[in-house]
C-alpha cells in the first residue's frame, strides 16, 4: 500500500512540475547579457526578443508589507525560460521601503506568449491579487 502511495506521490509531483511554472535558485545575479528591461510602469506591455536573448521584467514591490510578485501561470514556458529571480534592495536604508523584484527570462522558442504577474500577500485567504501586470512576448 505504501509503495502505491509513493508511486502516486511521485507521479503527481512529476506531473505538476512538468506542466506548471518552476523557478530556479536566484543567487547568481551577475549575468549581463540581458538586452531588454521593462520597469513595470504599465499594466500591459508588448515585448519583442530574439531567440536566445535574455530580458528582465523589473517590478516594484514592498516586501516588508508581505506582498510580492509571482507568475500566475506557466503558459510562457513553451517560448521562454525563467533563468533567475532576485530582489534589488532599496536604496533608502529604510525598512518597508519599495524594492525591485527582477524576473530574468530567455527566449527559447519562436512564437508569441504571455507573462502574467500577480501582486499579493500569499497567505491571504481571498487569494485576490492587489495588482496585475501582463506582458505579451514575441520571440522572433
Amino acid at each position: 500500500m505504501k509503495f502505491i502511495v509513493i508511486l502516486l506521490f511521485l507521479a503527481a509531483c512529476g506531473s505538476s512540475s512538468g506542466s506548471k511554472e518552476t523557478k530556479k535558485d536566484t543567487t547568481n545575479t551577475s549575468q549581463t547579457d540581458m538586452s531588454i528591461q521593462t520597469d513595470g510602469s504599465k499594466n500591459q506591455e508588448d515585448i519583442h526578443v530574439k531567440l536566445n536573448e535574455r530580458f528582465d521584467v523589473r517590478l516594484n514591490a514592498v516586501m516588508g508589507t508581505g506582498n510580492s510578485w509571482w507568475l500566475a501561470d506557466s503558459a510562457f514556458k513553451s517560448n521562454l525560460s525563467l533563468d533567475t529571480t532576485f530582489t534589488e534592495v532599496n536604496s533608502s536604508g529604510k525598512d518597508g521601503a519599495p524594492e525591485v523584484q527582477v524576473f530574468r527570462f530567455k527566449g527559447i522558442a519562436k512564437g508569441v506568449t504571455r507573462l502574467l504577474f500577480n501582486y499579493s500577500q500569499p497567505w491571504k485567504k481571498d487569494d485576490k491579487p492587489s495588482d496585475t501586470k501582463t506582458y505579451n512576448v514575441t520571440v522572433e
Binding site: V5, I6, L8, F9, A11, A12, C13, G14, S15, S16, S17, G18, S19, K20, E21, T22, K23, K24, D25, T26, T27, N28, T29, V62, M63, G64, T65, G66, N67, S68, W70, L71, A72, D73, S74, T85, F86, T87, E88, V89, N90, S91, S92, G93, K94, D95, G96, A97, P98, E99, Q101, N118, S120, Q121, P122, W123, K124, K125, D127
Partner: protein, 347 residues
C-alpha cells in the same frame, strides 16, 4: 506522465496526506527529518482550494526545503520557489546618522524613573535561561496588520505597548502607528523604528490611540496639539553595546536587552519564502554580518535555545505564520539589525 487537472488535484491532496503520514511519529525517521514539521490543519485545508499554480509553487518550495533540510514549512500560496538574492549595494542608515546615534547610545545615562521600572522585568526573565516568551508574562499586545510600508512604525509601537503593559499593568493599550508615522521621519514608503523612540523621548511626545488615529494606509500630516493619552516614554536605546544601529546585535546582547527592557524592535530580511512561512523554525539564509541588508521591522518577544531561534511578532495579521508569529533561527536573514528598545513612562 500527465494527468487531467481534477486528477492532479486529487493526487496533490494525496501527496499532502502522504507527507502528513510520514511526519507522524514512528514512521521513517529520515523522511520525517526532511519534511518536518507538519503543515497545520488550517493551511492544509486552505491549500485544497488553492489554484493549481499555487500548489505547484509550494511543491517546489517544499522540495527545496526538504533538500536543504530546512526546519520550517510553507503553505497556501503562490509565491516563487527559492528566491531572492541579496545583491550587493546595501544601503544602511547613513553614516552621519549612525555616528549621531552612536554618540547618543554610548554616552547616555538612564533616568532614575527608567532604572526603577526595568527592575520589574528583570525578575521575570533570565538571559541565561534556555527559553523565554514574553507572551507568557502577558506583555505582548495582539498581532496587528499593517496597511502599507510602515512595518517600522509597528515594530516600534508594538515594543512600546509591551513596555507600557509591563510598567503600568492593566489592560493592553492600543497605540497608533499612524500617529507615529505622521510625526516621524518615515512614512508608507519606509522608515526606521528607532526614529519613533527618539521622537517620543527626546521631544517628550506621546502617541495617540489606534481608535483616534487608525492606520489609513497613506501618509498624513502630523497633527498639532497633544493627544489625550499618557503614552509617553522615558528612555530608548540601541541593543548593541557599540551603539551601531547598522550592526546585527549578538544573541547574548539581544537576550540581555529583552530581559532588561522587554520586547525588542529589530530588522530582518524578508523574502517570498519568508512570506510563505506557516510554522517551524525559519532558517533560510545565514546572516551577512559584514553588510546586513534588511527590509522589514518586527519584534523579538522570546527565544528557545533548543530550537536555536528567536520568537518574533510580525505585523501581517494572524493568518500569517504561527498566528502572526515566527520562529527564526539565530543568525539568519540578518535578524537583529537595528535592534533597539524603549521604556514607557509610568503613569
Amino acid at each position: 506522465m500527465r494527468f487531467p487537472k481534477k486528477v492532479q488535484g486529487t493526487l496533490l491532496f494525496i501527496c499532502l496526506l502522504t507527507i502528513q503520514s510520514f511526519a507522524q511519529p514512528g514512521v521513517n525517521p529520515n523522511l520525517k527529518l526532511a519534511i518536518q514539521p507538519q503543515l497545520p490543519q488550517k493551511y492544509l485545508l486552505r491549500e485544497g482550494n488553492a489554484p493549481a499554480a499555487v500548489k505547484t509553487q509550494l511543491l517546489t518550495q517544499r522540495s527545496m526545503i526538504s533538500q536543504q533540510k530546512l526546519l520550517f514549512n510553507v503553505g497556501f500560496t503562490s509565491v516563487s520557489g527559492k528566491n531572492i538574492a541579496q545583491i550587493t549595494g546595501d544601503k544602511d542608515v547613513p553614516t552621519a546618522e549612525v555616528v549621531r546615534i552612536k554618540q547618543f547610545a554610548t554616552t547616555r545615562v538612564l533616568n532614575p524613573a527608567s532604572l526603577n521600572n526595568i527592575k520589574i522585568f528583570l525578575k521575570l526573565c533570565i538571559a541565561s535561561g534556555k527559553t523565554y516568551d514574553a507572551r507568557n508574562n502577558g506583555y505582548v499586545s495582539p498581532v496587528k496588520n499593517q496597511m502599507c510600508g510602515n512595518c517600522w512604525a509597528y515594530g516600534a509601537v508594538g515594543v512600546y505597548e509591551a513596555s507600557y503593559k509591563r510598567i503600568n499593568g492593566g489592560s493592553f493599550i492600543n497605540a497608533s502607528e499612524q500617529h507615529a508615522e505622521n510625526c516621524v521621519d518615515g512614512d508608507c514608503t519606509g522608515g526606521n523604528a528607532y526614529k519613533v523612540f527618539e521622537w517620543m523621548v527626546n521631544n517628550n511626545k506621546n502617541l495617540n490611540t489606534e481608535v483616534a488615529s487608525p492606520d489609513a494606509g497613506v501618509n498624513q500630516a502630523c497633527p498639532g496639539g497633544t493627544p489625550a493619552t499618557n503614552y509617553y516614554a522615558t528612555d530608548w536605546g540601541i541593543v548593541d553595546p557599540s551603539g551601531d544601529i547598522n550592526k546585527i546585535a549578538s544573541v547574548a546582547d539581544i537576550k540581555a536587552a529583552l530581559c532588561k527592557y522587554g520586547p525588542i524592535s529589530v530588522s530582518l530580511w524578508v523574502t517570498t519564502l519568508f512570506q510563505n512561512y506557516t510554522n517551524g523554525v525559519f532558517n533560510e539564509t545565514p546572516s551577512n554580518y559584514a553588510a546586513p541588508t534588511t527590509n522589514h521591522a518586527v519584534i523579538i518577544v522570546g527565544w528557545d535555545d533548543d530550537k536555536g531561534a528567536w520568537l518574533i511578532k510580525n505585523s501581517w495579521g494572524t493568518d500569517w505564520g504561527e498566528d502572526g508569529y515566527m520562529w527564526i533561527k539565530y543568525g539568519t536573514n540578518n535578524v537583529g539589525k537595528k535592534a533597539c528598545w524603549v521604556i514607557a513612562k509610568k503613569s
